[in-house]
Subunit: 198 residues, 2 copies
Amino acid sequence: MSQKQISFWFEFASTYSYLSAWRIEDLAAQAGVDVVWRPFLLGPIFAAQGWTSSPFNVYEAKGKNMWRDLERQTTAYGLPFQPPDPFPQHSLTAARVALAALETPQGPAFCKAVYRRQFGAGQSLSDPATLTGALADAGLPETLADRASDPEIKQRLKDTGAEAAAHELFGAPSFVAGTELFWGDDRLEQAIDWALRH
Amino acid sequence: MSQKQISFWFEFASTYSYLSAWRIEDLAAQAGVDVVWRPFLLGPIFAAQGWTSSPFNVYEAKGKNMWRDLERQTTAYGLPFQPPDPFPQHSLTAARVALAALETPQGPAFCKAVYRRQFGAGQSLSDPATLTGALADAGLPETLADRASDPEIKQRLKDTGAEAAAHELFGAPSFVAGTELFWGDDRLEQAIDWALRH
């Protein structure tokens, strides 16, 4: 019997992806579902929708409520919360390093460390120390950060963007189980359940 | 001891408000929280954000996912699902009649009947038979529909819009417990819990 599987599409600058990154492993393990971590960039997708920034900046009242909601959700989930300034952060380098880190079993730990440093401690993704610190948190060599300039990694991230567009992803986090698309941290449990039953 | 209370802000054209309208009474009653039904219009709020239609029409991939998500959610909640065409429907008259209906104890039943006819049976809000049918469903006289042209009701809906703006509402359904704002059907349980504990 083949193992059930869910793809977890996340963007490092995305606030709600922080919640899912820290919740998905336990929930999926309890259900017996494998998780495939798929870092991608929302920038090109948002730009295609006519947004030059996060919709949480474009729409002020929506953004204000998002920050308050995130404060409530992190409290409920027992996660630290300290937003970075500015928001959103530039996530290109983090996404490239994540692709390299995810070639190892410590990849998810690196991704979670990046989120915790960014949204739990307010650290900048543009500060190289944030990424090397997250590599160290995950037990990975800091030299892995150099892979961000690896042409093969750069191309892989571009290909990932094309795949995200093919899945018609429009936000993050998103979960794909088979051909079924679920959007938002609030659908994480349902997506895992779908993967289990189909 | 004063009774705990939650305000339920809904827009008849809003798909996720359909879910909350059918879920809120039981959940609030179980928690011992009173519900104040507040119909309002999203149109002016969306227009202020630069949208001339529902964001689910403005952003195609988001809209496609919303309809699939709504199909899954209505199945989970045991609600009928048949979208109206076109979407969104014109909700002005329905909102005005609702304000009149909510002067009676059958007000919530009328609102739920409008939602069920619109999103559960695909009926048009522009067809007078939909609203008179919903009045009958709720055990209210069909003549109540005439109140839609009552200047006092018209003014009350305008005042409601100003109040919605003051609460910085940006979508529907929204829930207000004290000064705390919760957005979306996914936050209904949390909003009720907040009202209970504060």
